[in-house]
């Protein structure tokens, strides 16, 4: 598909052919002004392509880069409205609105009018409105910009949850390490076209962590799909190697397993 603004204007994007599979995380890269945001708007269904078509319309949510919403609602009121537009019942929408504000650390501002929120808190509301109805397609246009560190980490987790839940997530972000271990496909917008960058994530920015444990053979399906090597001393020790992004989740899973694993050490290879 292609997109240009105005009749006879220059093509911002042309010949773009992109298929989003369920349960995938897609990163779109490109220098400023190349048309990343235009691509995301087409994917989110906000803009229609000038030529070509967008096929299929899953339940979609979009997070803009800036959300200076001078709307006459409280944070939770706005999120409830958006939840209902996404098809939730009033009660579910209100409950989820409160939960997501809590998750992003903005629970104290639930009853604050949007116009009085700081830039960062507004951005938390923008992220929450997209997650409140568990969309099948989540489009994030530099959604992390303006969030504090804890909220960024929370948004990372929320994205990972959506992907694990079978949703497709497409994002643009300045930070090249953003979700680097979880990204399935990377694309670059270059000279008005879309180029697939299939090579795996940079090993330099994908540190590994080794977890040395004592216990029976670890089960399948641990977070981050760690590689398993038998430990040096005895049959009951193992070394699990996992990308650093998943190490916390892996440790949590090991410690809360029944019976719990004994962790002898965590190290870097």
């Amino acid at each position: 598909m292609g997109r240009r603004y105005g009749i006879g204007g220059p093509w911002v994007l042309r010949g773009v052919d992109l298929e989003l599979a369920v349960g995938t995380l897609v990163r779109v890269e490109g220098t400023n002004g190349t048309g990343k945001s235009t691509l995301l708007r087409l994917l989110a269904g906000i803009d229609a392509p000038t030529e070509g078509r967008a096929l299929g319309r899953p339940r979609t949510a979009y997070v803009p880069e800036r959300f200076p919403a001078a709307l006459p609602f409280t944070a939770v009121g706005y999120l409830t409205h958006l939840g209902r537009i996404h098809g939730l019942s009033r009660r579910t929408a209100a409950t989820r609105a409160g939960e997501w504000l809590e998750r992003f650390g903005a629970g104290a501002h639930a009853r604050t009018p949007l116009a009085e929120l700081s830039k960062g808190t507004s951005q938390k509301v923008a992220a929450a409105q997209a997650l409140v109805a568990a969309p099948e397609l989540l489009v994030l246009d530099e959604a992390w910009t303006g969030l504090d560190t804890a909220a960024r980490a929370e948004l990372d987790r929320a994205v990972a949850e959506r992907v694990a839940d079978g949703a497709a997530v497409v994002f643009v972000d300045h930070d090249p390490r953003r979700l680097v271990d979880a990204v399935d496909t990377r694309y670059a917008v270059e000279r008005g076209g879309l180029v697939r960058r299939t090579e795996a994530a940079h090993p330099a920015v994908s540190p590994l962590v080794r977890v040395h444990v004592v216990g029976p053979v670890p089960p399948e399906g641990l977070p981050g799909a760690p590689t398993l090597t038998p430990g040096p001393d005895g049959a009951h020790t193992h070394t699990l190697t996992v990308a650093a992004a998943h190490s916390d989740a892996l440790l949590r899973a090991l410690l809360t397993a029944q019976p719990p694993w004994h962790i002898r050490g965590v190290s870097r290879p």
Partner: protein
């Protein structure tokens, strides 16, 4: 769709932007409709005043959301449906306003022809007034939809052309609003009540066509 209309209505009511057009209409009716005036004349006058107010409300409703918030709603429901909900909110508000105006005119007007000789039955007069105000509300919503985004983004042009088009919609030959208003005013001379059914159908068709065009355009021109 009902969630979208609820959202747009809440936006309009809480923003208090409805105040200016509603006050304009209230002032227009309060000044122009005196107790004891012939009821059909006053109904025509009140209906005519509703058209620019309807255009103003439509313009308000499609421009009241900041772009970022509009995009979030558009991703969830589709930009065309968001636009349609905004226009429907404006039309609903205008129709309610017109109904209130009609009720007021029927309550205070003299149920007689312009020369106060022939009695005018109040029931049919009220029905005719409601029909005429619906015609004007519909055409106002069409004018407001065509005069704002996505067709006209520049504020100055948008306001000028909307005001001009609202005036033309009232006075141009062949306009359903002119038929409806003239039907009331001319009927007042003889005491005959004309129900503006054909103008209502024409106005509904025109408005549907205008709305379909702008809603289809909104994902292309923003």
């Amino acid at each position: 769709m009902s969630a979208l209309v609820r959202y747009q209505t809440a936006l309009l009511l809480r923003s208090q932007r409805w105040l200016a057009p509603v006050l304009l209409y209230v002032a227009f009716v309060a000044v122009g409709v005196q107790p004891g005036n012939p009821v059909l004349d006053s109904l025509g006058y009140a209906a005519a005043g509703l058209l620019p107010v309807g255009a103003w409300l439509a313009r308000l409703c499609v421009t009241q959301e900041p772009a970022a918030a509009r995009e979030c709603a558009a991703a969830a429901a589709g930009p065309g449906r968001v636009h349609l909900a905004a226009l429907a909110t404006a039309l609903g508000t205008t129709v309610l306003l017109g109904a209130a105006g009609t009720l007021y005119v029927v309550a205070v007007g003299d149920p007689a022809s312009a020369d106060h000789r022939v009695a005018v039955p109040l029931g049919p007069a009220m029905a005719a007034g409601l029909l005429a105000s619906a015609v004007c509300a519909l055409l106002g919503a069409a004018v407001g939809a065509l005069g704002s985004r996505p067709l006209l983004h520049a504020r100055g042009w948008s306001l000028c052309l909307t005001a001009l088009a609202a005036l033309l919609a009232l006075v141009a030959k062949g306009s359903p609003a002119r038929y409806a208003v003239n039907g009331l005013v001319n009927g007042s001379r003889t005491g005959d009540v004309h129900l503006a059914v054909v103008p209502l159908i024409a106005a509904a068709a025109l408005t549907a066509a205008a709305w379909a065009a702008v809603c289809a355009l909104t994902s292309r021109r923003g």
